[in-house]
Each structure stands twice: as C-alpha cells, then as structure tokens.
C-alpha cells in the first residue's frame, strides 16, 4: 500500500459535521454566552436596587430591538444548555452513549430548546 493512500485525519473544511459535533460546540458556545449573561443578570439586580431611573434605562436598553434579540438569544442559550446539560448527566450514568442514541438525543435537545424558547416568549408577549 502506497503511504499516500492512507486515510488522512479529518480536514475540518471538507468534513461532514455529525450533529453530535455541533451539539458539543453549541454547549460550550451557549455556556460562554451565559457567562456574559451573568453580568447582565447582576446588572439587572443592581439597576433595580439603584432606583427607578437606573431601572428605566435598563428596561429601555433591553426593550430595544437589539436588546430583545439578545434576550431571545440568551433564553434559547439557557434552554439549550439546560437540555444538553441533562443529556450530559444521563451520559455520566453510562447510558445513551451509542452512536445512534447520541445522534437522536442531539436532535431532541435542539428541538426541545427551540420549542421551550418559543413557549417562553408566548408567555411574555
């Protein structure tokens, strides 16, 4: 066998993404998004404690179009990280690690996170 015919390690640009790969990256990305959201959370509390003027400014910022888009994004990030976190806890018990099971649960987590986000914003508006 010619050494050049041996399989090469995956080149990311031509590699077909398995859904489990996307779900793993999304877990980290949503986690980082919520680490930033932690600052927003404390800012919400601090502005509420600071008084009506500071709180009005906070509500005006988060009520703007960009603010609302960010809030929807953060709520989805929460539900995704929530659902995928439960998936990780199930994995920690040694269950659901077969390829088909992991693929199915990855899709389930994506669908559940979108549905829960939609339900949440139906309650808000």
């Amino acid at each position: 066998m010619n050494p050049n015919d041996r399989p090469l390690s995956p080149h990311l640009s031509i590699y077909r993404w398995p859904v489990t790969m996307a779900s793993s990256i999304l877990h980290r990305a949503t986690g980082i998004a919520m680490a930033v959201g932690f600052i927003l959370f404390a800012g919400w509390l601090a502005d509420a404690a600071a008084g009506p003027d500071a709180y009005a400014a906070f509500v005006a910022t988060m009520g703007s179009t960009i603010g609302r888009i960010l809030l929807v994004g953060w709520s989805w990030a929460f539900f995704y990280h929530f659902a995928n976190g439960i998936r990780h806890l199930v994995w920690d018990t040694g269950r659901g690690l077969e390829k088909e099971q992991a693929n199915a649960s990855a899709w389930l987590v994506i669908v559940v996170s979108v549905v829960l986000t939609a339900l949440l914003w139906m309650v808000v508006s």
Partner: protein, 126 residues
C-alpha cells in the same frame, strides 16, 4: 505491580492534583442550576410588568431573595468552572493563561458580589 505510593492511592487525586473535584462541582452546580434557572426564567416571563415597582416587589419577596442569592452564587461558581476550562483549552501561552484564569476568577466574584449586594439591599430594605 503498581508504582503508585499507598498515600497517592488513598488521596486518589491523580496527576492533576485535584482529582474529580472540578468535574463533580460542575455536575452538582449544574443540577442546582437546572432547578434554579428554570424557576428564574419562568418567573421573569410571568412577571406582571417590567416597571421598577414590579421588579422591586419580585426581588424583595423573602423566598425570591433567598432563591436569587442561591442562583447568583451557583451561577457564578458554575460559570467560573466553565470559563476556566475554556481558557485552559484555548489560551496556550503560560503567562497569558495564568493571567486570564486570575482575571476570570476576580470577575466572577465581583459580579456575584454586586448581585448579592443588590438583592440584600432590596430584600432587607434600603
């Protein structure tokens, strides 16, 4: 034959020197946050209005103040553990990594204390 010392076996800390502490802390705080986070997100969505009075009434209710303080501490801890792993994965220069880890820890504690102080001010009555 194992080359590990009896003391090393008893401590069970492995080469990273802190054993499963980080991993376990992440799981336990994750379980707590699944419950606290769900309560918080649903509570905010169901708030009667988004004015200052509604926010103060919500935060200053004793049960809410306690749950919000638990949420603040647990979220800060879980986020600190998670950001630490991200820094360790992507920041390769030794000095920059150490600096980032210290900065991340300071930032998490600062944000958590800001949140806790605000809850106490509203909960006890400023």
């Amino acid at each position: 034959m194992s080359l590990r010392s009896p003391l090393g076996r008893v401590l069970g800390l492995g080469t990273a020197k802190d054993g499963t502490g980080h991993w376990w802390g992440q799981r336990v705080s994750g379980i707590a946050l699944a419950l606290l986070g769900l309560w918080f997100v649903i509570s905010i969505a169901m708030m009667p209005g988004f004015g200052h009075a509604e926010a103060v009434a919500f935060i200053s209710k004793p049960l809410h103040a306690v749950l919000l303080m638990l949420l603040t501490v647990t979220m800060g801890y879980h986020s600190w553990l998670g950001v630490q792993v991200v820094i360790e994965d992507y920041v390769h220069s030794h000095g920059l990594r150490l600096g980032s880890l210290i900065l991340s820890r300071f930032a998490h504690i600062l944000v958590a204390v800001v949140g806790l102080f605000a809850i106490l001010r509203l909960g006890i009555g400023a």
